[in-house]
Point group: C3
Chain length 273, copies 3
């Protein structure tokens, strides 16, 4: 697929989402529950946030994707993810993991690794430091809380090997996003620095991937289209924003009503291998 | 009361809220804590969010309404609701229940039913599927996560019977809102489709009811006025909105400063029986 | 320092924050996690929200300030604060306490007092009722939920004594903010009534103090500059706002990009003793 075909594919997936309104089950952190629910709605899908052990399995029986996010994780919530993920895996619905802060604390690194070892995760979306933490045992990851201090490109080789070994999609977001299944590599050149000044925009990018994967069976393509669309929404939102408050408002607006021509003209998704 | 009288009543209740700044205790879900607190403030009341068993009873001794919402429910939080509700019931302050997702999972359906059986709930506000789940034992409720797939009008008869039997107000929100105490039925013809594209707007409608009930002793009238005012705020907000982000911003603004003339001209609350 | 010097100091501290992007660990309430994270980012620092006992100590080993907020407190979260605070205290990083609702319920009053007795808190920021609850045993505190009914000036003498006794900074916010270390008293005459119509703006003021304290070793000066800057952002935001929704949006924008000239001209921080 070339850039033009990726743009057409993005529009096609968005139309499917808006037509089907797939239910996206989120087990996510307290900081972004509201904003990721709003991003889900703006994209056209339907969010449900639930974590109680008594119901996460039931919810996985009628959801179309399971979004797992380990920000503000605690043992109870990790168990919620494992319970829901087991059912999601049995049903073959995509599981999307956002390893927020993996590498920053052992709790988070181990939570991410345990999810990966016990569940058939489809896509992992993180920043460079988070992704690096998944395949290194060195304690030298440069991370500031949940912000990456690693450059995305230094992590690409390891991510590609890990994707191949685990048979998963790995998406590293940064100035240029990099998505790989171990065989095919894709770059996304959309995005805007303002995304770093609003909390939870990484988590919301993962939510976008979950929405796209819920209706598209090729998760590599779905992830690339989702990150391109989300990044482009950030670019468009920045055009009218005066700061992070108005940027976030415009981001929701743009995710909701971006014109197809804008997607065709400005989406920059390109295969690199 | 005719439509004109409902408009005047709405203004009168709003003035009372702004004069008294009643404290509205919310035990609500993680997704909407921030937005329902902001709606409470925009309407003119004062929110307190608290769930710890060690303090929910104390808070019920000085609150003016108790807003219970079962989104993201877990057993601990259900107990919080029962503890607070017992005190609220003894003090005779209104208890308003939002059975988010009732019908979607047994945990939620049972939580809603247990609250109804143990607490003197004053008003129940839900979508058609949620309300249907409260009076049917069939497992055929069409619900997508927390979104109703039932048409409001097909649920009216059952809701009216349930309201009469339980001696409660039931409010079904949808394209047209329907509020009944089993004897009197009211329709509210305000609202805007954009409300469905922002998370927690149903929960916020329930918050509006809680604010109105805290200062008005007729909960049927309070609920109708609250839903009319909230729906009209949605209509007005949509006039200037470019999407769900700017819509939510405008919704808070409008709830805060809607002109009395707008209420008199555009509020569409009408008794149907 | 005179008013002019405080303005210059504020600019200097802001530049340091934006240069260093210090990590601010928040253990805070569910209502404001998103908004305080956004305020942290808008000011130029980096937020991490974490509460699990398994990681709060680790996070305190690489954070630059610890922000503790007892809204929606429960015993588990209080323990999280004590665990994190112990490490923060050993490392000598500033601990900033927001005693939300102290005085309203025994759980909150005792939580605030226990934190103060067990941890080397640097700054306490609350409204007049909350601060009063920390040094009186009378059960006559006038508080409505989390809103103060006490006038700030009637609490000043007690706060000054308490600050001196505990060797802490106490900041009482209200129409005029009052900051004292028991020897030096400072008033901040910035702010806007709209701040009271958005939830969590008090909590966000505390977040501003945490950001400023993370890079400035005099916590009295840091607290005064933070409250001045935050209050002035509220003033500036109110100029363009149509209500609480657009006010909050503008508040984030202004915290992010207030011009230095605005700070030099409009910041009103003055020592009173």
């Amino acid at each position: 697929m070339d850039r033009h075909e990726f743009s057409k594919k993005t529009i096609e997936i968005l139309n499917r989402i808006r037509d089907q309104k797939p239910l996206i089950h989120h087990i996510t952190n307290f900081v972004v529950m509201n904003s990721t629910a709003n991003v889900t709605l703006a994209i056209g899908a339907s969010p449900i946030m639930a974590h109680a052990h008594e119901e996460v399995d039931v919810i996985s029986t009628f959801s179309r994707a399971l979004n797992l996010n380990i920000g503000t994780i605690s043992p109870y919530w990790l168990d919620s993810m494992l319970i829901a993920g087991k059912v999601a895996g049995e049903r073959g619905i995509p599981i999307i993991l956002d390893p927020v802060g993996s590498g920053a604390t052992p709790l988070r690194t181990e939570a991410a690794k345990r999810i990966l070892s016990e569940l058939p995760v489809t896509v992992i979306r993180g920043n460079a430091s988070e992704i690096l933490s998944l395949f290194t045992n060195e304690n030298k990851i440069r991370i500031r809380g949940v912000d990456s201090l690693e450059k995305a490109d230094t992590v690409r080789d390891g991510a590609t090997r890990l994707a191949k070994e685990l048979k998963k999609i790995i998406a590293i977001t940064g100035e240029v996003d990099f998505i790989t299944d171990g065989e095919r590599d894709i770059e996304v050149h959309n995005g805007n620095p303002m995304l770093a000044v609003v909390t939870g925009t990484g988590c919301s990018a993962t939510t976008a991937i979950s929405c796209f994967c819920s209706v598209e069976k090729d998760p590599l393509v779905a992830s690339a289209c989702a990150l391109g669309y989300y990044g482009l929404a950030g670019e468009e939102a920045a055009l009218s924003a005066c700061g992070p408050g108005s940027f976030q408002t415009a981001l929701y607006d743009t995710l909701y009503n971006m014109a197809e021509e804008t997607i065709m003209e400005k989406l920059k998704i390109k295969p690199v291998k």
